[in-house]
């Protein structure tokens, strides 16, 4: 998002609770993908704080968001967008987190793949996304407080009839 120097986290005094936090946040990020692909919208909502901010940028250079949602209820409606697809696959790549006590931030790379069927025609839409996240830990559980969805590119292809 900016030209500042990439800051890596200091690992010299990593403690076991910090490792646990890192594992928990990675599982949180992967649970979002899992719930989305399983169309488990209640499960997905349970990963967010009640006052979640979910902001989608369609073009990495665009200053204005394509979509801005606040709160679980608004997000649940958006998450049903996946219902019409034959298959949805969120394939996560690297997930980098910076932890600061009960707060954390992170960047996750994801290839969002959607297969749509119309008669015998099938298309595969792939969206390359970077999620810029803020997390909070409440009652020993990490939640997503804010998620910025930065769409780098989208590609749509025709698949062989299934």
């Amino acid at each position: 998002m900016s030209t500042r120097v990439w800051q890596r986290e200091d690992r010299t005094d990593l403690s076991l609770p910090e490792v646990a936090d890192r594992c928990a946040i990675r599982d949180l990020v992967d649970a979002y993908a899992q719930c989305a692909d399983r169309r488990d919208v209640p499960g997905q909502m349970a990963l967010f704080t009640e006052d979640i901010d979910f902001i989608v940028y369609a073009d990495r250079g665009a200053p204005m968001p394509l979509q801005k949602l606040r709160g679980r209820a608004a997000l649940a409606r958006m998450c049903h967008q996946f219902d019409g697809y034959q298959a949805v696959t969120h394939i996560n790549g690297q997930s980098t987190t910076r932890i600061d006590g009960a707060r954390a931030s992170g960047v996750t790379f994801c290839l969002v793949c959607r297969v749509k069927t119309a008669g015998v025609a099938r298309t595969l839409m792939t969206t390359a996304v970077r999620y810029l996240d803020s997390y909070v830990k409440r009652h020993d559980t990490w939640l997503i407080r804010q998620r910025l969805v930065l769409i780098d590119w989208t590609d749509t292809r025709t698949l062989a009839p299934g």
């Binding site: 599982d27 692909d37 499960g43 793949c113």
Partner: protein, 162 residues
């Protein structure tokens, strides 16, 4: 499929042993991909328990497997099937695990790339796979006790060399 829901593990009391188990399971999943791509069928089979279950669902929405293989020895033809390709690359995404002592379950995402040569034509087949795994620790080593290979979608296209 219900066992897949509520995907998050508990982390508050994570022990060093559990961190080691998570790493070992991630390495087991990655070893499967590595052995497959290196055509090391013996190495690949050694990752499974003697009485392993290996199920292939070419249509992940179907309750009936396309193939059901029982026992480590039965896996040889499945892995030998990769020899028809000039190259394969099992590109792993997220691996989410739920530990339960000496047993564990997990979901692993993979984009399995297969390149085939037919005369001067080269085709690339990509299978998006979700592996639903059960693991067991025997003599200090983690093995697959069951692996369900769930194909989400397949894309096949001609690729050019230059």
């Amino acid at each position: 499929m219900k066992s897949e829901d509520s995907p998050r593990d508990q982390h508050a009391e994570l022990s060093l042993q559990q961190v080691a188990d998570r790493l070992a399971i991630r390495e087991l999943v990655d070893a499967y991909a590595y052995c497959a791509d290196r055509r090391n069928a013996a190495g690949q089979m050694a990752l499974f328990t003697e009485d392993t279950d290996f199920l292939v669902f070419m249509d992940s929405s179907s309750p009936t497997p396309t193939q059901h293989l029982r026992g480590r020895a039965a896996l040889a033809p499945v892995f030998a099937d990769l020899n028809q390709y000039q190259a394969t690359m099992h590109f792993n995404g997220q691996v989410t695990t739920m530990l339960d002592g000496e047993r564990a379950s997990g979901v692993a995402y993979c984009l399995a790339h297969h390149v085939k040569v037919d005369g001067s034509t080269r085709t690339l087949m990509i299978a998006a796979i979700r592996y639903l795994d059960s693991f067991v620790k025997q003599g200090g080593t983690w093995f697959f006790s069951q692996r369900k290979l769930m194909v989400q979608w397949i894309e096949t296209r001609v690729i050019s060399t230059d």
